[in-house]
Symmetry: C2
């Protein structure tokens, strides 16, 4: 090879995998790296003709900004960490979709972590996710281990807790009271004249609180001996079927209150497979408005929670924090998105 010696060996440590850099673009455009950076992020600071040259160079080279480097240098990752118990149950999907849409529209990307309703797992995930230096963190629920809280406060990252309410949020909060849901459900069913109740619950923290709140409120109204079946989280249709089967053994009440629509639908399936008539043989109450208000099952009532609202509100809360210049303009956010009980009588008025 004639050109064998044209290879400049040098010390050549750390060859990146030949990815195009700002400098490469700059060379092609005949400017400095700094000007390219400006043209890309603050075009108003660059002469429009330069701007054009830079954009052409970007196109020619196929430059993809290295956000790892950008984040390191600017101390802004444009990353939001989202911690969810699970995506196996559709109860959170609307929230996630809405949140990610809002964030993406503002140039933020989402790091997802699944905790499986385990506070310990959440603790680990918070730790590793903090390693990415996210600009914001979204946590599901308000129960966290002491270590989680310590790490979060140390990190000084904007935080939104969602899907629950508490008097001492870590930072911002978008949710509703699960106790209030349970109590409202109990009163709703009492008002309808039901007297014998049963509860089928997944053993996730918030589901249990809703379920127990139903029972407490019933007791307050003189209804004792409300049987409860607690089933493994996450709730699935199968879990729901199992719930009905167990309830049948202990004696079927007039109405079954479920911690989640998925359980409720499972119960409907099991009931159908046994030729039972819902709500005649047993009425079923769900939770979450998992496609329910709009798609109300003829035999199912439920509690509607506005999942998308939770997502957009949480996203906007974070975004406003990101854009706040001074600490003074950072609003304290605490939103109760509320909920609404939906059944055949109310659904017409609902949409």
């Amino acid at each position: 090879m004639d050109e064998a010696f044209s290879e400049e060996p040098g010390r050549q440590t750390q060859r990146s995998s030949a990815s195009v850099t700002l400098e490469d673009v700059a060379r092609v455009a005949g400017v400095t790296a700094m000007t390219v950076s400006r043209a890309l992020h603050r075009p108003e600071l660059v002469r429009s003709e330069t701007q054009k040259r830079v954009l052409d160079a970007v196109r020619m080279t196929g430059y993809v900004p290295n956000m790892l480097a950008g984040a390191l240098a600017s101390n802004k990752s444009r990353l939001v960490a989202l911690l969810l118990p699970t995506i196996a149950t559709s109860i959170f999907t609307d929230t996630v979709q809405a949140m990610m849409d809002s964030l993406a529209a503002s140039g933020y990307q989402t790091l997802l972590g699944l905790t499986g309703y385990s506070a310990t797992r959440e603790e680990e995930l918070v730790h590793t996710l903090l390693g990415r230096r996210p600009d914001g963190i979204v946590l599901t629920g308000t129960d966290h281990t002491p270590l989680t809280l310590e790490r979060l406060s140390k990190a000084k990252v904007p935080i939104v807790e969602i899907w629950d309410l508490t008097d001492d949020p870590i930072d911002m909060l978008v949710g509703f009271s699960h106790e209030a849901v349970g109590a409202a459900v109990a009163r709703h069913l009492l008002a309808k004249g039901y007297q014998r109740f049963g509860v089928v619950s997944a053993d996730d923290p918030r589901g249990l609180r809703r379920s127990h709140s139903v029972i407490w409120e019933l007791q307050r109204h003189g209804v004792d001996h409300v049987p409860i079946e607690v089933l493994k989280a996450p709730a699935t249709l199968q879990t729901g079927r199992e719930g009905l089967i167990r309830m049948l053994k202990t004696g079927l009440p007039e109405v079954l209150v479920c911690s989640t629509d998925t359980l409720a639908q499972g119960i409907l399936i099991e009931a159908a497979s046994r030729g039972m008539n819902v709500p005649h043989d047993v009425a079923v109450m769900g939770f979450g408005d998992l496609n329910t208000a709009a798609h109300l099952h003829p035999a199912l009532s439920t509690v509607r929670v506005d999942g998308p609202a939770v997502g957009t509100t949480a996203a906007e809360a974070l975004l406003s924090r990101f854009n706040a210049k001074a600490l003074e303009e950072t609003a304290v956010l605490r939103v109760d998105v509320g909920f609404k009980i939906i059944d055949r009588e109310s659904v017409a008025g609902y949409r």
Copy 2:
């Protein structure tokens, strides 16, 4: 203040938000930053007594490794980008859960992007996600814009396409043939003696291919005039109800084939609300095994796809690539996970 002058102003550009660095830990442990780094990532290279001192220092300082810096320096982000059409429909949730579990177990985090079944949106997402320099990318489906393909090939990142099969995958592939699904469904139903068919489909690419394949196969067997209702993606229970309503207008067949279990369940709900008897008045066939095989609705048949297997296989494919030293040991992966038709007759044998 006596110590006002003890503040060393210097040039002090770019104060980070006071986060603990390797150097801080090193100082406390009485070693160099490099030794701390080793103690954390390659403990076998460090004397165990040093190791202990370092870990103590880490604990005392509350050090959280900055993975942005680590990724930049090592050219390994330990990030996997996952592009999904949507999480609104539960069809992908098992896959996601399984994949994230596998990846997390190996220290990889997941960046999520939702395309909404839009190739253009996918194109944008691939671009921005590539900015994070992920070590691997998982794409849903095999249809991508030319620009997407160009960017991906330029990035030289390991890629797995999931939930479909093709003869020219970008890189690795874990899925099944949607044409084969449709044809198998058609033959299955013909064998059962059905003669009048209808198809209800969401208008997502793979759903449509399954649906059309059903119709083609029926035609091959002499069944013409199979009506199809195409509804907006993503499929919801409400969409399913709408599907049945439309089908009732054009005349109800003996069996309705749905592109997804969600649609099928919506149809069951609408049927129930009209007092119709499934499968007597109309039989319903779903797809996806969304809780179905294990929780078989008495009136529903479906096609089981092993979602978790797709997830773990994809994750393991990526991981083996990440761990491969040489190009030669990187396996070409092309897995057909297959599928299975499930109905009341076969479900007993199924699990």
